[in-house]
């Protein structure tokens, strides 16, 4: 509370609460009896009026409520005081039970984790390939994937522009179980630097022609010829002299048919000119690290599910 307002407000709220409780108590005492005029009407001697007069001549009978109703008010009042002592509510006082909503949440979470721990420990000990063949683990992996991964990679794990397809055999960092698990746990931050300022606009067009020639797409052979030495000098460090990419830095294979951002000439030109990196404006995001959110056991189950997607026959 004191994070953004002064301590005064805590005591102000506490004082207001106390005053309200005291006010209720006084009201209860005062309102249980009233000064009233005895009805002169002798036919109904039990019908005293409350003494209120409206419109000059309208009064009301006293129809008393039962005593237990009054007692309910007192019980409510004492309940309120006990509650304020036990639980936080009285200004910034924490209450005698030390209860907090975040504590209650943490406890519930802990309970669930304690219940599921044996299963996860068993899964964690199981090899990814074996786990991928386990139907229960696969179903759990599917649910985890739909919850945490489908937002970017799609419900069918087929990805989209800037988000890798996880069902094929083409991998940026490698598709063996350990690498997949590492990608999930620690995330990936691939960076394709902007080459436009380095090699100049004309050379960009030449390099693009050469890159397209690598995967047998339509290209200008002359430009490709000119672009080849530029590629060797500037791109081969990551993508390799043969353009087959490098799993160690997540450099994509440029010779296959899979293109993360698209294979059209303008798209490749943009990739080379301005680079591709974690930047919302370019439509790309880094793969976040899930270790803190999911923990190792769930990441392990997810890795088994993802590995099973592209190794379907082996997994089942």
């Amino acid at each position: 509370m004191s994070d953004f307002v002064s301590e005064f407000w805590s005591s102000y709220v506490a004082a207001l609460t106390l005053a309200s409780i005291a006010g209720c108590a006084i009201l209860l005492v005062v309102m249980s009896r009233a000064r009233a005029r005895q009805a002169a009407d002798q036919a109904a001697p039990d019908k005293a009026t409350t003494g209120h007069v409206w419109d000059g001549d309208l009064t009301e009978y006293n129809n008393p409520l039962p005593k237990w109703w009054l007692n309910l008010f007192w019980i409510t009042l004492f309940f309120g005081i006990a509650y304020l002592l036990l639980f936080p509510g009285f200004g910034s006082m924490r209450g005698m039970l030390g209860w907090t909503s975040s504590g209650a949440y943490a406890k519930e979470r802990q309970d669930v984790e304690d219940r599921t721990r044996p299963l996860f420990e068993q899964y964690l000990k199981t090899d990814v390939r074996t786990l991928a063949a386990n139907a229960d683990a696969r179903a759990m992996g599917e649910r985890l994937f739909l919850n945490y991964c489908a937002g970017c990679h799609g419900s069918a794990a087929t990805g989209g522009k800037g988000f890798p397809n996880l069902t094929d055999k083409s991998w940026l960092y490698g598709g063996d179980p350990d690498t997949i698990e590492k990608s999930i746990l620690d995330g990936r931050m691939g960076v394709m630097p902007a080459m436009g300022p380095v090699i100049g606009e004309e050379n960009v067009a030449n390099v693009v022609a050469y890159v397209r020639s690598l995967s047998r797409l339509a290209h200008d052979p002359f430009k490709a010829q000119v672009g080849k030495p530029v590629f060797m000098q500037n791109c081969a460090a990551c993508h390799g002299a043969d353009g087959k990419g490098n799993h160690a830095v997540g450099a994509p294979d440029l010779t296959d048919e899979d293109w993360l951002y698209g294979s059209s000439q303008p798209t490749i030109t943009e990739s080379v000119m301005r680079g591709r990196h974690a930047d919302a404006a370019s439509g790309a995001l880094a793969m976040p690290a899930w270790r803190a959110t999911l923990g190792e056991a769930k990441a392990h189950v997810l890795a088994a599910y993802v590995w099973g997607l592209s190794n379907g026959a082996a997994a089942r």
Binding site: E60, P66, A150, G154, S155
Partner: protein
């Protein structure tokens, strides 16, 4: 009713101090027999046989009526309701409200007098009280007597019996929410879950307190229906009323005396109607908000009229119009068929029929198609376009199913990557990633309406058609 407002008396007044709360005066209703008492007995037996018996019935190897809150499934005989079916709960409440409107407009507080749990349990507890402590006079005498061993024994006996009934009621109530046989085993072996134990005690103590101690106080001071039912009355509503024109002037007389000579009406002023009243009112003062319409005074008075040799019905079901205008019974009955009662009845029948039809044709499948929002569409293999969806299939039934997923709406549109048929266990939900592909040149770019069809592989009559869209990139 008590008029809340009276003209101020003109004469001199004295100012005094008055209490605004009073100690409740205990009411000792006298036992009554007769036609309406028999009706009430029938309803007490009927409703309680249903309440106490229902959780013990089984259906398809499970409890016939079970509201499984933890699993969020609600079993009623052959039907299984999921939280998605909450509309039926709303309909049930609407039907209950309409029934209350209809019956109240026709014959006043019928619900209060015969079927309300407060009345029913009070009746049961009163019966126990009568068996142990005796009828009205014996009870008044016992309460007035100083404490003695006999009084202690009688009181302990009564409260023990009340407690037993109350605890059984609490146990039965919880038995609607958790399998009752299981609950019994756990109750005997002292292994009840915290909440189960709490609710058995809570509902049990509420029954004990409300039916044993609070009784008419619940109707007079707590129940909102008691108050708002009076606004559904009109002058053609049948109420329990004392026929003042016939009864007054009241006075006691011997059975052989001539009424005309004594100048008295039919009321012999025996006070039976006051003694039998469970809310402790005098019906001869006219319609009062405390009257729960139980007709105990009708039964009581009819017996006295029989003994006196007078016609029955000095206190009877009649309408205010009938009383003041002196309608015969036929006219009074005909006037209950007025626009409001007809409208309530028609609405009730209409809504009940639609609900029954909807329940009878309720599909065992629920299907939702959700488009992936991350990627609208992607090209596959150069000549096909793929859209990805999430298919949520709920098998509401209590049998496992095998389902086929088909798609319609575009030429060449087909389902990819699903092992057909999909198996779904009984009463469970599955999320199936669904890939749909269509030839890239099939139609113009943009969004196209399609339909996903989920069919039972063995019974084509069970099918769900869900609308969605397929997007071709520009």
């Amino acid at each position: 009713m008590n008029e809340p407002v009276v003209p101020a008396p003109a004469s001199a007044e004295t100012s005094i101090e008055i209490p605004l709360y009073e100690i409740r005066r205990k009411i000792y209703p006298r036992a009554v027999t007769g036609a309406f008492a028999r009706w009430r007995l029938a309803l007490v037996l009927g409703t309680q046989l249903f309440f106490y018996g229902m959780p013990w019935l089984t259906w398809n190897g499970r409890q016939a009526v079970l509201f499984d809150l933890a699993a969020r499934k609600f079993y009623v005989l052959g039907l299984v309701f999921w939280p998605q079916d909450v509309i039926y709960l709303a309909v049930l409440l609407i039907l209950s409200a309409l029934s209350l409107f209809l019956f109240t407009a026709l014959a006043g507080r019928l619900w209060c007098g015969y079927a309300c749990p407060q009345t029913v349990y009070t009746e049961i507890f009163l019966w126990v009280e009568r068996k142990i402590e005796g009828d009205r006079l014996a009870r008044i005498r016992l309460d007035a007597a100083p404490w003695s061993l006999e009084k202690v024994v009688v009181k302990v006996l009564k409260h023990t019996a009340w407690f037993a009934i109350a605890l059984w009621t609490g146990y039965t109530f919880v038995g609607f929410f958790t399998p009752i046989r299981d609950l019994g085993v756990r109750a005997i072996t002292w292994q009840l879950g915290g909440w189960e134990g709490f609710w058995i005690l809570f509902y049990g103590l509420a029954t004990y307190g409300n039916a044993g101690w609070m009784r008419e106080q619940v109707c007079k001071y707590m129940c909102p229906y008691a108050r708002f039912q009076s606004v559904m009355f009109d002058r053609d509503t049948m109420i329990i009323a004392y026929d003042e024109r016939r009864g007054e002037p009241r006075g006691s007389r011997s059975r052989s005396a001539d009424r005309a000579k004594l100048g008295v009406g039919d009321c012999v002023d025996c006070n039976i109607c006051v003694q039998v009243c469970p809310t402790g009112i005098d019906i001869r003062k006219g319609l009062q908000h405390e009257c729960i319409g139980c007709a105990a005074c009708v039964d009581g008075c009819d017996q006295v009229m029989d003994r006196m040799g007078y016609p029955r019905g000095l206190i009877r079901y009649t309408s205010q119009n009938a009383l003041t205008s002196g309608f015969d019974r036929r006219t009074m009955w005909r006037r209950t068929l007025r626009p409001r009662s007809i409208a309530y009845a028609l609405l009730l029948v209409a809504i009940a029929s639609v609900t029954a039809l909807s329940l009878a044709t309720k599909s065992p499948l629920k299907v939702d198609v959700m488009r992936d929002r991350g990627a609208l569409a992607r090209e596959v293999g150069g000549d096909r376009v793929e859209n990805v969806y999430r298919l949520q299939i709920m098998n509401v039934d209590e049998a496992p199913r095998e389902l086929r997923v088909d798609v319609a709406g575009l030429p060449g549109l087909r389902v990819e990557g699903i092992d057909q048929p999909i198996a779904i266990p009984a009463g469970s939900t599955r999320l199936v990633p669904l890939r749909l592909q269509a030839p890239a040149q099939a139609v113009a770019a943009g969004s196209h309406a399609i339909e996903v069809i989920v069919t039972d592989a063995h019974d084509a009559s069970i099918a769900r058609h869900e609308k969605s869209t397929f997007i071709f990139p520009r």
